[in-house]
């Protein structure tokens, strides 16, 4: 059995990363390295107003005083921040007036990824913003959305067209000074998506952003801001892929969500950055800060993530429950294989009264990977009747991987009820044999068992994403048990 296990463990490692191609697109790049000049270069490239440049410079100067966090349960060689290209934009002769003007190579890239930028294909019913390397290349369904007052555009456009909103909300949830990577992002972010749902509007379609790193040696630093006014609702999807490259690439994004009174924002991620090869060479360093604030009473923010990619994942989508009766949710499936490392979880900060949070984390480890859940539940002194339920389950495939749980609980109000449950299990040979005996081969059996394990989270994904995510889980773990 052990030999067989090893054989099959060998096989997973050879399972191919489907999105590893490189598109040959001419790029407009900043020189390597980071300085005030780089920051000014990016800001100038984007014709930014002075306040934006000032914001960036302030963040950059603060960043210089900070140190990279060392507490995550991950290991990697020091990052040389002077060896990264901070701005890379696909060269286009003219700014595209319509989607037809987009570089055909670029269109092909997105077609390969299964993303349609064609507004005619209304059947998909999903509005897409596509970000390649440092810039947004296309946003679909803009006009239709604007009819109901929804703003959905690239961050660059938002800075030009909606400066008041950006000045009001950018950095309001994740200040530039929040942490090392958020400061870096604030200094050099080059694009991202902005989404604004006005009072009382239920966004008529799913909004989605696809992020793609293409150019070599570049970092991707995108910024997403979602604001839902009173009684507004939006469901937002995010997908990410990158080419296979031998060197590690840095991705340090910031996502901010503001939910006003009775507003609801549902944010779903299927993260499939290149995870590196079977020896652990290459792959994306995914250092991301995601945070939402339930600013108004009875508001709700829900994070759902399916993380299968990246060589290292460091992210804790969080909710600040400021409004009374507000609700925060975090549903996560994190898969690690080969030499991948994930340190991910959430923070639920209860400030308002009668606030509720729910955490469901499912970690799946295979190969020689390390998978950690790290979560904080904090209840402030005045947050009466706060409720939290956390469930952290780990599933191990093989005996060379690791699963770790670091739950932190800080309660300062004695009316709080905080529950934490954790389990660790292994896919058993008995389970596999049972499936085999019913005619189900080992690979299909693993996919079945893993999807069963992750079901509670998968059920939270919008339909369009659920099927894709299920397949992704199966592919990521191909053959990982004998």
């Amino acid at each position: 059995m052990h030999e067989e296990n090893d054989d099959i463990l060998e096989q997973i490692t050879s399972s191919e990363y489907k999105y590893g191609f490189v598109t040959d697109i001419e790029a407009d790049e900043a020189p390597k390295g980071l300085s005030e000049d780089t920051v000014r270069f990016i800001s100038a490239k984007k014709n930014e107003p002075v306040w934006m440049l000032e914001y960036r410079l302030k963040a950059y100067r603060h960043w210089l005083t900070m140190e990279e966090p060392k507490w995550p349960n991950v290991e990697y060689p020091p990052i040389n921040y002077q060896d990264i290209i901070y701005y890379s934009a696909p060269k286009q002769k003219i700014a595209p007036d319509s989607l037809d003007d987009i570089d055909p190579e670029l269109r092909k890239t997105f077609e390969k990824l299964g993303i349609s930028l064609n507004e005619q294909k209304r059947l998909t019913g999903v509005a897409v913003d596509a970000v390649i390397d440092s810039v947004s290349v296309a946003t679909t369904f803009k006009e239709e959305l604007s009819k109901v007052g929804v703003i959905f555009c690239s961050m660059s456009e938002a800075i030009q067209d909606h400066p008041a909103l950006i000045q009001k909300y950018l950095g309001s949830v994740v200040p530039a000074t929040d942490n090392f990577f958020s400061a870096l992002n604030a200094a050099v972010f080059s694009d991202g998506s902005f989404c604004f749902i006005p009072k009382g509007v239920r966004c008529p379609m799913e909004l989605s952003t696809y992020f793609r790193i293409n150019a070599a040696n570049t970092g991707q630093f995108e910024r997403t801001l979602i604001v839902a006014e009173d009684e507004a609702y939006v469901s937002y999807l995010e997908g990410c892929t990158a080419p296979m490259r031998d060197e590690n690439q840095l991705h340090a994004a910031v996502v901010e969500i503001v939910a006003m009174e009775k507003a609801e924002v549902k944010y779903s991620t299927v993260q499939n950055w290149y995870p590196g090869d079977k020896e652990g060479k290459g792959g994306i360093y995914n250092f991301v800060t995601k945070r939402g604030i339930c600013a108004g009473d009875h508001s709700k923010i829900s994070w759902t993530q399916v993380e299968t990619g990246s060589s290292i994942t460091w992210k804790y989508p969080s909710v600040i429950l400021k409004g009374d009766y507000s609700i925060g949710e975090f549903y996560s499936v994190a898969v690690t294989n080969n030499f991948q490392q994930a340190d991910t979880g959430t923070k639920m900060v209860h400030l308002g009264k009668n606030t509720k949070s729910r955490i469901v984390s499912k970690g799946i480890s295979a190969g020689k990977s390390q998978n950690s859940y790290r979560g904080l539940v904090s209840v402030a002194k005045n947050a009466g009747n706060a409720r939290n339920f956390s469930q952290c389950d780990s599933l191990l495939l093989g005996d060379k991987c690791g699963a770790h749980t670091f739950p932190y609980i800080e309660v300062k109000n004695n009316t709080a009820v905080v529950e934490h449950e954790a389990t660790t299990s292994k896919i058993g040979e008995d389970q596999i044999f049972y499936c085999n005996q019913r005619g189900i081969d080992t690979e299909t059996a693993v996919a079945l068992i893993v999807n069963g394990f992750a079901k509670e989270v998968m059920n939270q994904l919008p339909m369009e994403f659920a099927v894709e995510a299920q397949k992704l889980l199966a592919i990521s773990l191909e053959g990982s048990v004998g």
Binding site: E4, C435, G439, T442, L448, G452, F453
Partner: protein
């Protein structure tokens, strides 16, 4: 249908099967009885292809094919079914979904189109009656939180859905009360046909009151030491295994 010739098998260094011979034809029900530790469950596991056991000698032919050359899943798809003594739990996977996967894997193997949802459901409704199993049970995660009786009924239900040529029942009666035993046996009897066969592994004779075997074999120390009709089972009921043990031990000595 199944020809076992001088089959020997061991787990780690321990020899368990020391030369089994058995011939099962379509339409027949064979019972394997024997004291604890005689190798009954090992025989069932080896036939199903559990990799903990190493076959050290002999041959097994199933439907004209070398069974021992086939992977466990291919054995299943060729029509061999094992009703487990201890069915496993698979959290998050509904029983219905699991059976549907199994049925369609088998159909794919046989070159048939997968069943659509409506056909599958119709089929399921029909087979549910056989084992008096409830829809609500099938919506739950496979075997999770099922009672002992529910697990065994679920095994027979899966058997009904998969329509195997040869079904091996590994101590299906263990842990069942009399009502559950009757339901399980009733299911088996209704599925019985001239084209399929059953190998019923049991410690006790009482199951054989409900599922009447054509042949009864007694397994002891890794060999079939006595074969006969259902009368042999009755005799064992009265006398216990000790008289056979004594006879065999004398022969061996």
């Amino acid at each position: 249908m199944l020809k076992i010739n001088n089959l020997q098998a061991r787990i780690e260094e321990k020899e368990i099967l020391k030369g089994i011979n058995l011939d099962i034809k379509p339409g027949e029900i064979h019972a394997i009885m024997g004291p604890n530790g005689s190798g009954k469950s090992t025989l069932a596991s080896v036939l199903a292809g559990r990799s903990d056991y190493e076959v050290t000698g002999g041959s097994v032919e199933f439907m004209g094919k070398d069974l021992l050359e086939l992977s466990p899943e291919d054995r299943a798809k060729e029509g061999l079914f094992l009703a487990f003594q201890y069915p496993v739990e698979i959290p998050g996977v509904s029983t219905t979904n699991f059976i549907k996967s199994a049925v369609n894997e088998k159909r794919k193997y046989l070159g048939l189109e997968p069943l659509d949802a409506a056909q599958f459901l119709r089929n399921m409704k029909e087979k549910m009656k056989l084992v008096e199993i409830d829809q609500s049970l099938l919506s739950r995660s496979l075997n999770e939180g099922f009672s002992g009786g529910e697990k065994k009924r679920n095994e027979i239900f899966q058997m009904a859905m998969l329509e195997p040529k040869l079904a091996i029942l590994d101590e299906t009666d263990s842990g069942l009360d009399i009502d559950a035993l009757r339901i399980v046996a009733n299911g088996v009897n209704q599925l019985r046909s001239k084209d399929n066969a059953f190998l019923v592994v049991t410690h006790y004779q009482r199951l054989l009151d409900y599922i009447v075997p054509d042949f009864v074999h007694v397994l002891y120390k890794g060999r079939i030491v006595r074969s006969g009709t259902k009368e042999l089972a009755k005799e064992l009921e009265v006398k216990g295994y000790d008289f056979i043990k004594a006879e065999v031990d004398q022969e061996l000595a």
